[in-house]
Subunit: 342 residues, 2 copies
DNA sequence: ACGGTTTACTTAAACGCTTAACCTTATGAC
DNA sequence: GTCATAAGGTTAAGCGTTTAAGTAAACCGT
């Protein structure tokens, strides 16, 4: 299919290419109503479609947003199997497309090389999910474009973060267990890193215990990787060797599902013997058996919000993004994996 | 961050921009070893990053691949919550990135308007998942780029399809149930459309029954949408009103999970009272309770294969893609949802 | 009637890269 | 020594836009 250029539109309309450009970009103050009309008709009839590469070259804006998600260490594949990221992307994409932007979705090799991508592609902005090594963020700061971070506690004037109150989330989860009469509550979690989301949830766990006058027992935190598999291991361990534990708070829904399976493997049941609460409310949470009680963060809305923030930052080129993070609401959704004790 | 242009590299290296371009694009026949060396050092020291927009404009190739997945009717959001698509994308992305390509992920408004995107962005190729209205494919044919289709039985010289043998898959699933002694087997499925993947699986279902000398009972096919929710409805129905049915083949894993829940809701158990087999082997299949027996199509590999096909088609600009589809292998993975009868 | 604005366009340079065409100089065949 | 060829470079046009600067006509206040 042959490309129709602005030149051909201009000839058909009997005006200069500049006039066409003005009309097409809505600089209506520069042109008469008559010309607008002629140009629009010509463009319509020729089925003119602008070339974004040329546009990008001329005015240094590509209408392209970089979206980065973590990947597996080994096979360098996106962690998109994690519905948390999938759902975020659903939200992001729908907002971007509505505004005429497109998304370049990619992973990034151990934090290196993304600078290349952003420069090559002239990205207008980026949304970064997950946590990377420092040098990655340093690179990001160098290129002058708005950036929003998801799942990060890096507060820097270069970045805007769209987050949740993880500490509160952890607190809500554990408090729910406490309200249901549980006093020996295990924590099953990924690696607790300083200033990571997981640490905040952990802090919430401790605060809930403390406020309820319960003893924090380090032996009751099972910390490893954020996977179904580790949840399974932890679940088995808990069911087999910790008869005192009656409830577990898993810091992700997948882990919670793993815990449930591990518990069952040891001949115990959820929630009869052990109650379980997860975190995130991914779409599969409601499909688990039994349906999982969890802390819902409306993931899709969060993605949409991130996109909105980014877009508005791109629009108000001049002003910086508000440096305070945007905090999205949480809600406890009680399904069938928590039993009321006594 | 200021952009370093080819001009600056050429000045630093003391050669013309043309020479730099030749070196950087590997046209080594045109330049001496000495120049190559000088240019490479200059580029390195200046940390030169080419501008793909300019490149795209000059040689009409963007190194950008369009990836399209279906979206929900109502909210116009990607169906990325369906792990089937997520996993495909994992595979696609990893291959593309390795070859220096990037992916523009988007949905498409009821089949319209994607032509615009492809023209605007000068896409080098596209991977289309799902099924759309005819006009969409007509548009696609007009733009002259390689296209690979996933999950489609449209055989046209313009497209290459990377598929599986859905009929065989359906056959394998049902045959597995029959081998386990089941004779009253329900089918729970999305809408059966002529030449859709679902129809093929349905055909496989019928063939397996026939070959085993079993009667095909239309009352045993439960056809509606490909969702967990419908699986749930169907499961309840089956458990409550079809005591003769001992096994169900669901044409997607999500539906299978829904069936299991529905069955349980009616006080029956999987696999004790009713056996269930799914299709796809999404990552959550192994996390269900009990772990789901299903027909595995290595989804990630399929995504990778699709990307490979596309890339090689882009490379051999001239030659057309082989018009026979690429068929990926299937495997039955027996987990815990099918009971041996008697 | 005159300078000064305003309005509605057009011209042409610029964005960063590729590449066909051209220009030297060296190499070799006879 | 002459001519063809090859090797290694350079020049400059072109890709499709945008936009600053220029132009020409119309309008206006005095």
């Amino acid at each position: 299919m042959k490309r129709i250029t602005i030149r051909e539109v201009s000839e058909k309309a009997g005006v200069s290419t500049a006039a066409v450009s003005y009309v097409l970009n809505g600089r209506h103050s520069k042109v008469s109503a008559d010309t607008i009309e002629k140009v629009q008709r010509a463009a319509q009839e020729l089925n003119y479609i602008p070339d974004f590469s040329a546009r990008s070259l001329a005015n240094n804006s590509s209408k392209l947003i970089g979206v980065v998600i973590p990947q597996t260490e080994d096979r360098k594949q996106l962690l998109l199997q994690n519905p948390f990221y999938s759902e975020l992307i659903c939200g992001i994409e729908s907002q971007l497309r509505q505004s005429g932007y497109h998304m370049i979705l990619s992973g990034v090799e151990k934090g290196e090389g993304y600078l290349d991508t952003t420069m090559q592609r002239n990205l207008d902005g980026a949304i970064i999910m997950g946590v990377y090594q420092e040098s990655f963020y340093d690179d990001l700061k160098k290129v002058n474009m708005p950036i929003v971070l998801i799942d990060s506690y890096i507060y820097d004037r270069h970045f805007h973060v769209v987050g949740i109150d993880d500490e509160l989330g952890g607190y809500m989860a554990v408090n729910h267990l406490i309200e249901n009469g549980h006093t020996n509550i295990a924590l099953v979690t990924g690696t607790i890193r300083k200033d990571g989301v997981v640490e905040k949830r952990f802090l919430g766990y401790k605060r809930a215990l403390k406020e309820a006058g319960l003893f924090y027992n380090p032996d009751h935190v099972f910390e490893h990787s954020v996977t179904y598999e580790y949840g399974y291991e932890a679940g088995k361990l808990i069911a087999a060797e910790h008869p005192e534990i009656t409830a577990v708070f898993a810091t992700s829904d997948q882990m919670a599902m793993g815990v449930m399976r591990g518990v069952r493997e040891e001949g115990k049941d959820v929630p009869e013997h052990i109650s379980v609460i997860g975190f995130d409310d991914i779409s599969f949470a409601r499909m688990s058996t039994p349906p999982l009680t969890t802390v819902d963060q409306d993931i899709i809305s969060r993605g949409m919000k991130a996109a909105d923030c980014l877009l508005s930052a791109i629009q108000n080129k001049g002003k910086e993004l508000p440096s305070e993070p945007t905090i999205m609401p949480l809600a406890l959704v009680a399904r069938d994996t928590v039993r009321k004790l006594q």
